[in-house]
């Protein structure tokens, strides 16, 4: 590790201040809309549904004025995993999903590929890409501060029921704020320990304890430093009069605009549609219709 530079890694999901419609959304609504679309993706298991979802996702990318390259950046590390999983699935004995009958498509030796398996592989891949791109979109169009405000705003109505909205949001803020700082500290610790002769490699096939112990000079100081900082932090928070969310005001007031409500409504409608339409039948009908040509 002759170039350390941990700070490179510590920036989560590069915020790109492009100023698109999506950027300007009220973060509360953005997070909710995101969650709704994610739900739609999570529960869609058919070809047709995923085609629609993929198109929708790329439409959102265009709306956010984020470059396609950046949006797909997160997908690259996933490709080897996907390839491996595809092969893995094929090698497994055929499984039924949802109890329907599966037809054999292809066979080579003992390897059998059913249409169910094929669909599973394709759909999984599509879903993964959709989710990765959606996540990248969220982090590219929202600053960390906005995320914290959004989380707090969403939880605020539940304050009456005892949900600590501001406290949770403050926790998120603190976490986001300290990631780069702790990354820099981690770098110093790693360098200091290497200079003392620490070796972070493996100790042998089954020497679990010994291998783990080699990482202690790295991990223990990180936790200890973090805990010490949290004590100082608590003092500073008390000194500035923090007593919990009650009675607090905020410098920035989130104001939802009609466009935000519209976007949320669209996301909700989309989600409901995706979850209720019988894409299986629709897909078959479409395939039959296309088969005419």
């Amino acid at each position: 590790m002759s170039t350390f530079e941990f700070l490179r890694y510590a920036t989560l999901g590069q915020y790109v201040p492009v100023g698109s419609l999506v950027h300007r959304m009220d973060p509360r609504f953005k997070i909710l809309a995101f969650a709704l679309v994610v739900a739609a993706v999570t529960f869609s298991g058919t070809y047709l549904a995923n085609v629609i979802l993929l198109l929708t996702v790329f439409l959102l990318v265009a709306l956010s004025r984020v470059s396609l390259g950046q949006a797909l950046q997160g997908v690259r590390p996933a490709l080897p995993v996907l390839a491996f999983l595809a092969v893995f699935q094929v090698l497994l004995p055929p499984q039924t999903f949802g109890g329907e009958a599966c037809n054999l498509i292809w066979q080579w030796g003992f390897v059998e590929l059913t249409d169910c398996t094929l669909r599973f592989i394709v759909v999984s891949t599509a879903r993964l890409i959709e989710l990765i791109v959606l996540t990248t979109l969220l982090t590219s169009t929202t600053t960390m501060a906005e995320l914290a405000y959004g989380v707090e705003g969403l939880l605020a109505p539940f304050q009456r029921m005892g949900v600590p909205a501001h406290e949770a949001a403050l926790t998120v803020t603190i976490a986001l704020r300290f990631v780069p700082t702790l990354a820099l500290q981690m770098e110093r610790i790693v360098k200091a320990q290497i200079a003392r002769g620490a070796d972070f490699g493996t100790a042998g096939r089954f020497r679990f304890v010994k291998t783990t112990r080699r990482l202690l000079p790295l991990l223990v100081p990180l936790f200890l430093a973090g805990l010490r900082r949290s004590e100082n932090l608590a003092l500073a928070m008390e000194a500035r009069g923090y007593t919990g969310g009650k009675g607090r005001t905020r410098r920035v007031k989130l104001r939802a605009r009609p466009a935000d409500y519209l976007a949320l409504a669209a996301a909700a409608a989309f989600c409901i549609a995706m979850l209720n339409v019988d894409f299986a039948t629709l897909g078959r009908a479409l395939a039959a219709w296309l088969g005419q040509f």
């Binding site: 590790m1 510590a10 989560l12 994610v38 999570t42 997160g74 590390p77 996933a78 995993v81 999983l85 499984q95 999984s124 891949t125 879903r127 993964l128 989710l131 990765i132 996540t135 982090t139 406290e167 403050l170 926790t171 803020t173 603190i174 976490a175 300290f178 990631v179 702790l182 990354a183 981690m186 790693v190 972070f200 493996t202 096939r205 089954f206 679990f208 304890v209 291998t211 783990t212 112990r213 990482l215 202690l216 790295l218 991990l219 223990v220 990180l222 936790f223 200890l224 973090g226 805990l227 900082r229 949290s230 004590e231 100082n232 608590a234 003092l235 928070m237 008390e238 923090y242 007593t243």
Partner: protein, 186 residues
Amino acid sequence: MEMTRKANTSTLVRRIAVTGILVAITVLLGTLPVGGFIPFPTGVNATTLHIPAIIGGILEGWPVGWLIGLCFGLFSFLRATSPLFKDPLVAIIPRMFIGVTAYLAYRGLKRVNELLAVGVSAAVGTATNTGLVLGIAVLRGYMDISLAATVAATHGIPEIIVAVVITVAVVAAWKQIARRSGGSSV
């Protein structure tokens, strides 16, 4: 500074600070090229990302453990590159229990022997993580029972060992828990 431990800071403020920092460490372990998992030559990578939730549960109680676990789950979901963990039910739900079970185990055994309590608590928290993640994976159809059992054995056991070693080292140093020998080994 020893000063701060006796300071008049409220439990709430302390817990918010600890939770924030431990979540930051979770994120860090998941993003940096080092520390997030311990590679064993058998090809198994024992992750360490659940350890902050365990430590939070031991040091500050179940609400802190729960929240760190939830954030761990969210983070795991957001940056996952495999379909298994891109499923929020697999990534998020099980993680909420890591800190809680760890806390319960620690509280239960604390009176017997503190170091033992910490170790068992780390094991319980890890087992909760492995067990619930694999359990929901099976329920959602990502794998069948036999595969899940194999993964539990090959991944789960090293992860328990890793968690116990690290958690005990951290908590013993922080809370100044004496070893049976009463001192260093030098």
